[in-house]
Amino acid sequence: MVSFLRFLINGISLGSVYAIIALGYTMVYGIAKMLNFAHGDVIMVGAYIAFCAISYLSLPPLLAVLCAMAVCTALGIIIEGLAYRPLRQASKLAVLITAIGVSYLLQNSAQLIWSANPKVFPSILNFGAIKLFDGSLVITSQTIITIAANIVIMLVLTMFTGKTKMGKAMRAVSEDKGAAELMGINVNRTISVTFAIGSALAAIAGVLLCSAYPTLQPTTGSMPGIKAFTAAVFGGIGSIPGAMLGGLLLGLIEILGKAYVSTELGDAIVFAVLIVVLLFKPAGLLGKPMREKV
């Protein structure tokens, strides 16, 4: 029973990280209708920046995270402006391949700057732990911070997209780009802001991910990136609560599957569940069903 609780908490913690990454994916997809494969690598860059800020500049953890967020935000805007904006009218596949090119570019630049050798990420979120059931169930401060960060981000984002002018513009652009433009919304700026927010979230996710799994190398971001993308599709791509739900469920399934079914097949279980869900709900758990016009 206690071990089940432990897996449950680990699952929620991992799921929270996936959820934060998936939010970035889902927002970008909702607005630009593109699969941003470079998102996973922005996570990696964020983690490296935080690592450098802590190890070389010995900044306090909070400042390091802010530093990583600032760099990733700038990176997101630059990538969008240079690589994706000229392709606004191009076919979806052209944008996809460009995103893959950006992903290679980030990975290989990171390899040149920081070398391929894995770095050990400092444990910046360890302030102690809560011990329950006579110490058999330990909840680390890091788990608590991850889950709390997830909840805060979720609330702030929901408020932002629901209440603010920019948020409303985002929803308008994601619904109908042409009509939004006619209403006087600056579509390019809205998309830039979306990329900025998604990349800032990626930086947070990078720090949280690397605090939990402290090996940092240029390929760190790719697998969590793919899984978070899966999570976004799982919950219904384009939907913010969907990304949250998908991320949490994916983390839970992965940890419980590894614990109770098979360690080697953890990833296969995650993807198999995704396929089954998509068969019964082709637009994801919370996605809007697609209507077809003839």
């Binding site: 392709l87 979806k92 052209a94 460009t98 893959i100 630049s109 899966t230 995704l274 082709p282 994801g284």
Partner: protein
């Protein structure tokens, strides 16, 4: 004399060019003017050409984005490796050519079966959802391959899941992959596979079924209204592509002494997709040229050593930006006197 159809003449020209290219390569190899590293690349080039052409059948002709093509290659590589070892032990077939052909057929067969099993659920979905599920299947195949163990015991094949203790000699060893593979692949056989692939794909696209597949790509609803069974034709393209990828996988697997399951990652699927897109979606010749050039390119960029993948990434982005730039596009249309640029822009394959 009966007049040949235009498509038949085009196909014959295609075969002619491939045969010519083969003869030139073979002559340079025989003359010893080809560098060692390039010679080692000849079979991988054949493999990737077949992979790219078969993926183009799914992405370009049938219009569905598939991100798990390496999964079929993996199935083909492993079944080819196991089959060739089994043929030697059980039937004592010494001839490498016969064993290679039979192994490639086995690879194609098993990958085709995997294609049917995966196609049934996948082809019910559309667009990006279909893409993510093919990605998921590619990862599942890799994950399952990591847990499979095969052994040969006096001609009898044993299989186990997650348990390396098997009677006889282990030939596939879970995460380490197949370790005692005999190198059977030869460049002429790789060339024969390219020719076979071209034969299958060109005949399919120029047939009634091929036109039905393209009709479902261009407008699914209209095709359905014309009485075309959409699922059947999409399945036909998907399974054919899977089987061809399996044969390429067998050729690839039997080209070295080990088959590592980590080789068939998501990255490999993406690599092949890059060939298809850069070569031009739906354009078979484009796929062949892009696959051949981009397989050699990292070798040519060896002078840049550490920077070569960086250069590759930058080249990739710049090519995509340039080919989609409206100014450059209209300029090239004017230069090459292409008719109807608007019609070409609409025929975007999986772009819809």
């Amino acid at each position: 004399m009966k007049k040949l159809k235009k498509s038949a003449i085009n196909s014959l020209i295609s075969y002619g060019i491939v045969i010519l290219a083969f003869i030139v390569c073979q002559l340079t190899i025989n003359a010893g003017t080809m560098s060692r590293s390039l010679k080692g690349q000849m079979i991988p080039i054949c493999v990737y050409i077949v992979m790219a052409v078969s993926l183009n059948l799914v992405v370009g002709i049938s219009g569905e984005l598939s991100l798990g093509h390496a999964g079929f290659m993996s199935v083909g590589a492993f079944s080819g490796a196991i089959f060739s070892a089994w043929l030697l032990e059980a039937f004592h077939i010494e001839s490498t050519v016969i064993r290679l052909i039979l192994s490639m057929l086995a690879g194609g067969l098993f990958a085709g079966i995997a294609g049917v099993l995966i196609g049934i659920p996948v082809l019910r979905l559309r667009g990006d959802y279909l893409a993510i599920v093919t990605l998921a299947f590619g990862e599942i195949i890799r994950n399952v391959m990591n847990c499979l163990y095969f052994s040969l015991d006096e001609g009898r094949l044993h299989v186990s899941f997650n348990n390396p203790v098997l009677p006889g000699k282990l030939i596939v060893n879970g995460p380490t992959g197949a370790t005692v593979v005999q190198k059977l692949s030869t460049f002429p056989m790789g060339f024969a596979l390219i020719l076979f692939t071209l034969f299958v794909v060109l005949n399919l696209t120029n047939s009634r079924s091929g036109r039905a597949i393209m009709a479902t790509r261009d407008n699914r609803i209209a095709a359905e209204a014309m009485g075309i069974n959409v699922t059947k034709y999409k399945m036909m393209a998907f399974v054919t592509a899977a089987a061809l990828a399996g044969m390429a996988g067998a050729l690839y697997g039997l080209n070295s002494s080990t088959v590592d399951p980590a080789k068939f990652k998501f990255d490999t699927s993406i690599l092949v997709l890059v060939f298809v897109v850069l070569g031009g979606i739906g354009n078979i010749w484009g796929s062949i040229i892009a696959a051949a050039l981009l397989t050699v390119l990292p070798e040519l960029l060896r002078a840049f050593s550490n920077y070569r993948m960086l250069v590759y990434a930058i080249v990739l982005i710049l090519v995509m930006l340039a080919t989609n730039n409206p100014m450059i596009r209209s300029l090239s249309d004017r230069l090459f006197h292409r008719k109807k640029p608007a019609a070409r822009a609409q025929k975007g394959g999986a772009s819809e």
